[in-house]
Symmetry: C2
Subunit: 219 residues, 2 copies
DNA sequence: GAATTTACATATTACAAATTTCGTCATTTG
DNA sequence: CAAATGACGAAATTTGTAATATGTAAATTC
């Protein structure tokens, strides 16, 4: 082969596609465009990807993998599980939101894929779910949380945070103050599974949040 | 007028539109069809509704008003606030889900309206939000809940339940066991704002849920 | 003979003409 | 004169066709 390795050409195609996708969007970006940019025939592209959507899928999966890796590092931090849970949800939200703002065409591609093939990112979603579950188990282990069913609680957290994480919903909450709302959401759920402070009074002043810490008030 | 009152004809138009919408969907259902069915000129229909979408809007609003009324009766039941909150969320979910199953074309119309004009049902959403808030305040009043910020907590509940209530999301969770998940979701949030039982032990057996009651396990 | 290209059949998309619907209004009807 | 209609331009939809893209397989190059 004239080019580098098999793998090398794949990467070149993905890089080219990424740029074209950003500029033209999924409909106007054609396999011909990719081939033209790389000075090869479009047929050759099909040696590396069976279909056009396989290329788009690869780009999305690459992005999701990055986020997943980042989330794993957050989950590994040496801070209380409650803090890690909060950070994970907030960062997942921020990354998606930022993508929508920075690269609308890519986001639209992602949104459509999930809409048409909801199971596309199932593996990735499972990974995130496991992060939730593991963090809840870590919290229980550390005496930070009550001995809830970690699977059940992780499901609740997943469902509850959907409005801030699901690609179909993020565009609808774009204009709003999602940071505070997402933080409150996690804190309420975490408060529900948290151990009570040893000697806290049952009555608190109005407006205070439940659980271990003072919740930040919406602005 | 040959027909009944002004109001009577409006109702006839809406009834005709409801049937045609169910059968043809929003695109294939035309104002001409409605007129044909009622044996009047299509121009006459425009004496009662300024545009086609005004007819569709009226149908949707009628449906939302029904749900709202039902929710108000639930909120007025003579049971603990926690039970009422749970019932309200579950019934809102069931009604929407059922509509999607019974009358897909109507649901699609609704979904599109919310997608294109997110503020369309703002008034109705506010009503539901107020039901949440009022129930939380009732719970606080009754010593059932902690003295949380009712506005904040209602917002959390609204956001958290979006996956089961928002028209864009319901189709995505149709195949899944949403009843149990929705119930768990509400129970976790409610548990978080609930008073602790007076003399409960801090350690519970694994798998038990937080809060006042035993949470039903997912099947 | 592996890598790449040209050639080709199939599927999509794009475009322009014809048809239908939307929404308004002057006119007719009872 | 209240109620309804037919007629009309604008807008949207449908139809038929040309152009382009997708995906495959035979032919060519190195």
């Amino acid at each position: 082969m004239q080019n580098g390795s098999q793998n090398e050409t794949q990467k070149l195609i993905l890089e080219a596609a990424k740029g074209l996708l950003r500029r033209y969007g999924p409909d106007k970006m054609t396999v011909m465009d990719i081939a033209r940019l790389l000075k090869m025939s479009h047929a050759n592209v099909y040696r590396f990807f069976r279909t056009k959507s396989e290329i788009l899928d690869a780009l999305i999966d690459e992005w999701l993998a990055q986020i997943e890796a980042f989330v794993e590092t957050i989950a590994g931090r040496e801070v209380p599980a409650s803090e890690r849970l909060e950070a994970v949800v907030l960062e997942l939200h921020r990354k998606r939101r930022q993508k929508l703002l920075d690269d609308a065409e890519f986001y639209e591609t992602y949104r459509r894929v999930i809409e048409l093939r909801p199971d596309f990112a199932e593996k990735r979603r499972e990974k995130i779910f496991n992060v939730f579950r593991k963090l809840i188990e870590a919290g229980i282990e550390a005496g930070e949380f009550k001995a809830v069913d970690s699977n059940e609680a992780a499901n609740v957290l997943k469902d509850a945070s959907a409005i801030f994480l699901h690609p179909l919903m993020i565009p609808t909450v774009l204009k709003e103050d999602t940071e505070t709302r997402a933080r409150n959401l996690v804190r309420y759920i975490v408060a529900g599974i948290s151990m009570e402070p040893p000697k806290a009074a049952t009555k608190r002043r109005a407006g205070s949040a439940p659980g271990r810490r003072q919740l930040q008030k919406a602005v």
